[in-house]
């Protein structure tokens, strides 16, 4: 029996695997459709005059690059969910003598096929949503039919989604141990706190220097963009270094105050692996980071352009940047919601036996679900607020008080944080233990 046959036997649609399979395919479809719409939007910029293209295309490229990270996270989560859904079968195969690399191949093939089905569904979804997306206006007129990408781009995008999912599946599977007896998550050794502290302090110093001397550092729009992109990258690095520490501190405080079973359980679930908790909510923190930078950028453009109309493409730039920021935020949220749904489902399946057992012992599903929801929403809320404040402080020397606290920036940030949290909360209902485990039994 070859690997493809194994993959088919374990991956073919079955009632017991239906919930995770539908979830994974839907997540890929959603992300593929969103990516195609963004590419369509970016592609439409090629009809602008050359000077405008010089500004619009790098910004669109930035938005596309932003999408790759959530897509990788999603691919990795999908591979782990797929392995979890088949954990007993994969373990049995190991017991029968299949090697670790054979099992990994089976899991990667399954993830790739799931991604392919999802990406193809995503193309259909993109074509269905394109008429709506074509109404979005840039340079004063709707995108129109320019949203429709050539067939070769669609094919390339499908290939890219499948390739990325296969790569991230391989990476994600390195964190799973598939033994003849069980599938378990491998713990990674945390980076020592002094290294985190050194990198964080260093990054903040570099960023402050960069932003306070921006006019000397960057003479052209392209240079400003490069500096801001670099700053954004460093900001992301700081987020990921400080995030787990912040999450564990919040959870420790919650643990001390916990009075109900769900509060106690939620705090302990976060403390069990703060890095994993952080990873699950880092998208929400990233969204508030993007909201502050993007919102203040848009407000800044708005303020400068209000004074001088040039009757050129430049007049549309502030409004278009705001549209771009809002679209980037919306896309980030969709990816975060899909990732949350999928990682929470994997986590519920991970603890399937424990949840079922605790229910037998008399713990109701509601208590278990409340603990699970709290274990995600507490860090999500903390991350959103903390990083909205942190990025405000970071952007302050760059944008100034008036811009940072302008209604446009403040509204963008508040809307981003609230919407992000609501979306995450809604998305994780798919992973309710009672619902997800019922389909498994």
């Amino acid at each position: 029996m070859n690997i493809l046959h194994f993959a088919w036997l374990l991956g073919r649609p079955a009632k017991t695997r239906l919930a995770p399979q539908v979830l994974t395919v839907s997540a890929y479809a959603l992300v593929s459709a969103v990516m195609l719409i963004v590419l369509g939007g970016a592609y439409s910029f090629t009809r602008f005059e050359a000077e405008a293209q010089g500004t619009y295309l790098p910004l669109a490229g930035f938005a596309v690059v932003l999408l790759i990270v959530p897509l990788m996270v999603l691919g990795s989560a999908a591979a782990r969910l797929s392995a979890r859904a088949n954990d007993r079968a994969l373990s049995s195969l190991r017991l029968l003598g299949a090697t670790g690399s054979q099992i990994r191949s089976v899991a990667i093939i399954q993830a790739s096929v799931t991604a392919l089905v999802g990406a193809l569904a995503g193309v259909v979804l993109y074509l269905a949503c394109a008429p709506l997306a074509s109404l979005i206006s840039f340079q004063g007129s709707p995108i129109g039919t320019a949203i429709y990408l050539p067939a070769w781009v669609l094919a390339a995008a499908v290939f890219a989604v499948v390739a990325l999912s296969a790569i991230s599946a391989a990476v994600g599977l390195r964190k799973l141990m598939i033994t003849p007896l069980a599938v378990a998550t491998r713990r990674s050794v945390p980076v020592p706190s002094w290294i985190r502290a050194a990198i964080t302090v260093g990054s903040i110093l570099v960023l402050s220097l960069l932003f306070t001397n921006l006019s000397q550092v960057a003479q052209s729009i392209a240079m400003v963009l490069i500096v801001i992109l670099g700053g954004f990258g460093l900001g992301m690095l700081i987020l990921n270094l400080v995030g787990p520490y912040l999450v564990s501190k919040v959870a420790q405080s919650k643990l001390k105050k916990a009075q109900t079973p769900q509060q106690l359980l939620a705090a302990r679930m976060i403390l069990e692996n703060p890095a994993e908790s952080w990873r699950q909510v880092s998208g929400v923190a990233m969204a508030s980071f993007v909201a502050v930078i993007g919102g203040s950028g848009a407000a800044m453009m708005n303020a400068t352009s209000a004074q001088e109309a040039t009757n050129t493409w430049y007049d549309y730039l502030p409004a278009d940047i705001l549209t771009g920021v809002l679209l980037t935020l919306a896309i980030t949220f969709i990816c975060v919601a899909a990732s949350s749904a999928i990682t929470q489902s994997a986590s519920t399946l991970d603890s399937a036996e424990l949840y079922s057992g605790l229910h037998r012992l008399g713990m109701d599903w509601g208590t278990m679900n409340a603990a699970r929801v709290k274990s995600l929403m507490v860090p999500a809320l903390a991350a959103s607020i903390a990083f909205a404040i942190a990025s405000t402080l970071l952007v302050l020397p760059l944008a100034g008080m008036a811009i940072i606290f302008s209604p446009l920036t403040v509204l963008t940030v508040i809307a981003a944080v609230v919407l992000g949290l609501v979306l995450v909360r809604i998305s994780i209902t798919v992973a309710e233990p009672a619902r997800l485990l019922a389909s498994r039994e």
Partner: protein
Amino acid sequence: MLENSFGHPPVLHAQNLYRSFGATTALNGVSLEISLGESLAIMGPSGSGKSTLLHALAGIELPDAGSLALNLPGQPPVNVQELSDKARTKLRRGSFGFVFQSGLLIPELTAEENVAMALMINGVPRAAAIAQADQALIALGLAGMEQRRMGQLSGGQMQRVAIARAQVTGAMVVFADEPTGALDSATGAEVLDTLLDCTVGQGKSLVMVTHDPSVAAQCDRVVKLHDGQLISDSRRGTSVSGGDVR
């Protein structure tokens, strides 16, 4: 309710329990009474319906037909099969204790928190629950291990934590499914002694599924199942066989 030969009124009275899964009949007209302070072992080959009977007696699963009456001291009688899923969940956490082979302890929690959780879901404040949990753990020889996580305890210690959790709520009936099945014989014997001390030793009932005749031999009574039917019911020194025993 009439007192049975054990000298106590039955706390559980199952009559004509039937349960099937597709074409397989797991319980086929099982009737059984369990008395207060009695230890009962359920034995039988794999697939004979032992765990299904335990789940039915504990209100985890409802039988397709038959009735189950619960008659706890100082509480009004309850017909378990008439309760909703939510009410049965509440009944299990308030009136029953459980010790399963896998322990079903929450890995994220410490030993004391695992035990305290049973009290907290019954509404006991955290500080009081932790204090009671610590007492229960100390009584079972786990002093100094209250703050340990499950990965830091041996199999026998984990089962003691599970026993502490089963008894800390004051449950009058404890259900155990192969509680020593994953332990070596010496540790298994110690855990069984602890379990008996904490249940029948304190006037509570113990209903235990086991494959092990030496474990069953320590119980007051042993019932045997075959193909979903109760084929024998013996007490220490006596034996009754037949379909509808009792």
